[in-house]
């Protein structure tokens, strides 16, 4: 056998053996499992009221001891449980001249007795209040504000509030010859998911 032919034959045998060995290396049984359809979406925190943008109270010419009661309904529509606190804006002037009481309750029927009527209002804890003190003393931040329900709010929860604003009597002579004004202020119910 010529030398070249021997060499070619050897190369062929080595190649064929390598090919078979290679197939052995790359061959494998396989299996997979795939998890599909993954998504993530946030929940919501949303709260609103039935005032339609109209102030809870707008008292003029208030006399000593005169009280004004107004009610409002607050509804939570977020999907996440939330803690809601009530606070006022930091825009009150002469706030020591007025007393504010805020009570939590239920029973309003705004469709028959429109906002801000208090007809039907029943306080949750008669004699108890979320707040009862001078207007100036009402908290002005979420952290300091009273818990508006005392429990977490869930979607669809509705709570009624009664605001009683009073001009504090002051018998000091000659101190009421000009108007004492609170200034325009706002009340905010803020919901936070814990």
């Amino acid at each position: 056998m010529p030398r070249t032919r021997k060499l070619l034959l050897t190369t062929l045998v080595v190649g064929a053996t390598s090919a078979v060995a290679g197939l052995g290396v790359f061959a494998a049984f396989t299996a997979q499992t795939t998890n599909t359809g993954n998504q993530i979406a946030s929940g919501t925190v949303a709260i609103g009221q039935n005032s339609g943008g109209v102030a809870i109270y707008n008292v003029t010419n208030g006399g000593p001891g005169q009280t004004t009661q107004r009610c409002i309904r607050v509804t939570y529509t977020g999907t996440l449980p939330a803690t809601v606190k009530l606070f006022r804006s930091n825009t009150v002037t002469q706030g020591t001249a007025f007393n504010l009481q805020v009570e939590r309750g239920s029973g309003l029927n705004p469709t028959t007795n429109p906002y801000p009527s208090c007809t039907g209002f029943t306080p949750d804890s008669p004699g108890g209040s979320l707040y009862n003190g001078t207007l100036i003393g009402f908290p002005t931040s979420y952290l300091a504000g009273p818990d508006a329900k005392g429990a977490a709010w869930a979607q669809g929860d509705t709570v009624d509030y009664r605001f009683t604003i009073t001009v504090i009597d002051d018998p000091t002579p000659n101190t009421h010859d000009t108007v004492i004004q609170s200034g325009s202020h706002a009340f905010t119910w803020e919901a936070r998911n814990n």
């Binding site: 709260i47 005032s51 339609g52 943008g53 003029t60 309904r73 469709t111 905010t188 119910w189």
Partner: protein, 218 residues
């Protein structure tokens, strides 16, 4: 010899059975069958949520396991709700159908109307966003809101059979601004009108000052 023949028949039978299963495999994904053996129909469940500005009646589950007739047939599931404006000012109505389980997004058409306006009219897909405010409800006024669902025409069974879609109807009132208010809100010096039902995490109510000394309490 007879034994070999019997064995060959058995093997042939088994092979035939195997081929039959293999031939049936592509059709194994047929839609779920109903109790009667017919294909299970598509279903929709609807819940309604309370709204700060509009009293919604009823709330909770207002439509449970309502079945769709085949595409193109009349009489799809429908919901009827009463909305009452519980604010002291006129409101336009905005609504959305928040998906809880959106299985029929591409298969269903929805139409919602109330307060003399059409609030939604089109594919279910996309109704998770608030609709443009429409209609008018004055303070204390009520309206019947009707929502109708139907399957699109020409759907293949795979697109709807056996699927259950769950939606939550949500409403909000958008106060109608008077021309004077609109002017005020466009002015850069104007303050934000307080107290409107806020879409975010807080709700505010403003208290105005006694600007007219000597005037009477409203």
């Amino acid at each position: 010899m007879g034994g070999t023949q019997q064995l060959a028949r058995l093997a042939g039978g088994l092979a035939g059975l195997g081929l039959a299963f293999a031939a049936a495999a592509p059709f194994s994904g047929v839609p779920p069958q109903g109790v009667s053996g017919k294909p299970a129909p598509a279903q929709v469940e609807v819940r309604a949520l309370a709204s700060p500005e509009l009293e919604v009646n009823p709330v909770g589950t207002v439509l449970a396991s309502a079945e769709f007739p085949p595409p193109g047939e009349r009489g799809g599931p429908a919901v009827k709700l009463t909305l009452v404006n519980q604010t002291p000012v006129p409101q336009r109505i905005s609504m959305r159908m928040a998906p809880i389980a959106s299985a029929l997004d591409d298969a269903v058409l929805v139409r919602a109307s109330g307060a003399g306006a059409v609030l939604l009219d089109g594919p279910l897909k996309g109704t998770g966003a608030w609709s443009l405010p429409a209609g008018v409800l004055s303070s204390g006024e009520s309206t019947t809101l009707r929502v109708r669902f139907k399957l699109k025409k020409g759907l293949s069974g795979d697109a709807y059979r056996g699927r259950i879609d769950i939606r939550q109807l949500e409403f909000k009132g958008v106060p109608i601004q008077t021309p004077a208010e609109e002017e005020e809100s466009e002015s850069p010096a104007a303050t934000t009108p307080a107290g409107a039902g806020s879409p975010g995490g807080n709700a505010s109510a403003a208290v105005l000052p006694a600007t007219t000394p000597g005037s009477t309490t409203p």
